[in-house]
């Protein structure tokens, strides 16, 4: 026991029994990020459209949303949603739900700004050409403007996705069994923090490399018309 306090001895063999637990954690992390990403991608677009709409109240509302949810850290949101809302209005969220809501709020605000700059970057001539052909608002947006804006926004959205993967580890503070949560539990059981945190780093790295590799393929496809 004394030896443990004086000199840390690495016990890499811990990794093997911990592996199954970690795989479960990977699944939860992927669920958490996938759900938050899809929700913030759609909510972000809605907020961006409100922000750009000619209807003033909607525009201000979106502005407030963006400013408010970008301002604070995820840590605070997670605690507020999980404990604050439960104490305040008695709605109990599961840790995962609370995590998804917090991740979505924060990231949809960022994504709204990404969308807004991308939509603004589409040449005004594209709007005009579509209008001159009689396209209605909806078709003009979905057929002409949005596909071009999405291509422009894509690299930044991938960045944002990577942030979500990493930020999802913060949600572990309210006791989710995601990668970080599982690791924290294992660490207190096996008392081998370096080994286990190294392993978790390897998992995060793998997830992000795989996803950004896939994103590169998608990006190439999105850019196929550019010479």
């Amino acid at each position: 026991m004394n030896a443990y306090l004086v000199a840390y001895t690495f016990r890499w063999s811990i990794i093997h029994p911990a592996f199954d637990e970690h795989l479960h954690g990977v699944r939860v992390t992927l669920e958490l990020t996938a759900l938050s990403t899809v929700l913030s991608l759609s909510l972000g677009l809605v907020v961006a459209l409100c922000r750009m709409s000619g209807f003033r109240p909607l525009c201000y509302l979106a502005y407030i949303y963006i400013q408010l949810f970008r301002a604070l850290s995820l840590y605070i949101y997670v605690l507020w949603i999980y404990f604050g809302i439960a104490a305040g209005i008695g709605v109990n969220f599961s840790p995962i739900t609370a995590g998804v809501i917090a991740l979505t709020m924060l990231n949809s605000a960022y994504m709204a700004e990404i969308y807004r700059s991308a939509l603004g970057a589409v040449d005004s001539g594209q709007h005009e050409a579509a209008m001159s052909l009689g396209f209605g608002r909806r078709h003009r947006f979905f057929t002409i403007v949005f596909p071009q804006a999405f291509r422009i926004a894509f690299p930044s959205l991938v960045n944002q996705f990577i942030d979500i993967v990493k930020d999802s580890s913060i949600v572990a503070i309210i006791g989710t069994t995601d990668l970080m949560g599982v690791t924290n539990q294992l660490v207190s059981y096996y008392r081998a923090p370096f080994e286990l945190y190294t392993l978790v780093a390897f998992f995060y790295l793998t997830i992000i490399l795989v996803v950004s590799g896939a994103a590169a393929l998608v990006e190439r496809r999105l850019n196929r018309h550019v010479q």
Binding site: G125, E128, A129, S132, L133, G136, H225, V226, Q227
Partner: protein
């Protein structure tokens, strides 16, 4: 087969009060347009302009830059709605004046008329504005599918015919970025024609092209005029104006300074401003 005959006319939907042979197909009355640059700076770009084109007529609009030529075109299809005045096209009248902001039925009616105007007026831009994320074929067939509600197959067939007509049949599968300026403009013309419009608006269609490519586009426009298409052409090509134009308008500082048969105005301008302009560019 159908590509040699007139693009408009026969296949156009029978609009209420369809114009007879010599009636004006489009008519703008009392058009005024201001551009707002900051609070104090208002630019009066179109001052009480009246303009009309008869079916089958080619109207050429010339004038120095900033004289309101392009704005006039864009007022006719409401890309830039005139603040006052009305546009009558195919028996329907549209005005942005007194459009109640909050009345939903009025808005819907306005949108519907607007849509009708735009589907029947083709526009060709100086900078082409092809949709970069679509192939040439999709560029031409998108509006017939989305706006006219044609089936994909019919729309593509029509798009191919229009592309053949402008000599771009071989480039259907290509993206716009792989085309030269002249080819892009041909596709843009085909895209506008695929809606089977009654009127074509050309907004300096050759101004962004290399000199050697200008002739080809002008030839396409000439062919279109000969097929009986009604056209309003904003251009700096005086040779084209003289040969193809039936009537000519000279604009300066937002007003029509002089108008008349194209040849007469170009060879014997009466207004001093017109004379100075023509001297300067010829």
């Amino acid at each position: 087969m159908s590509s040699d005959t007139g693009p408009a006319g026969a296949s156009a939907p029978a609009a209420a009060g369809a114009p007879t042979a010599n009636a004006e197909i489009v008519c703008g009355a009392g058009l005024n347009k201001w551009f707002h640059r900051g609070r104090a700076h208002e630019l009066h770009v179109l001052k009480d302009v009246d303009v009309g084109v008869r079916k089958g007529e080619v109207l050429v609009v010339i004038g120095p830059s900033g004289s309101g030529k392009s704005t006039l075109l864009r007022c006719l299809n409401f890309l830039a709605p005139p603040e006052t005045g009305t546009v009558t096209f195919l028996g329907e009248t549209l005005s942005a004046e007194r459009l109640p902001r909050l009345s939903v039925p009025a808005r819907l009616d306005y949108e519907r008329t607007l849509r009708h105007f735009r589907t029947q007026m083709g526009m060709v831009f100086q900078h082409f504005h092809l949709f970069p994320h679509m192939t040439v074929l999709d560029n031409v067939s998108a509006a017939p599918i989305r706006v006219l509600g044609m089936s994909k197959q019919d729309a593509r067939e029509r798009a191919r015919a229009e592309l053949d007509r402008v000599g771009m049949g071989g480039k259907a599968k290509v993206y716009p970025s792989q085309l030269s300026g002249g080819q892009k403009q041909r596709v843009a013309i085909a895209r506008a024609l695929a809606m089977k419009p009654q009127l074509m608006l050309f907004d300096e269609a050759t101004s962004a092209l290399d000199p050697e490519l200008i002739g080809g586009i002008l030839d396409e426009m000439r062919k279109l005029a000969e097929s009986g298409m009604t056209m309003i052409v904003v251009t700096h090509e005086m040779g084209f104006a003289r040969e193809v134009g039936d009537r000519l308008i000279f604009m300066d500082e937002g007003q029509i300074v002089e108008q008349g048969p194209a040849r007469d105005v170009l060879s014997e301008p009466e207004n001093a401003r017109t004379q100075a302009f023509l001297r300067a560019i010829l």
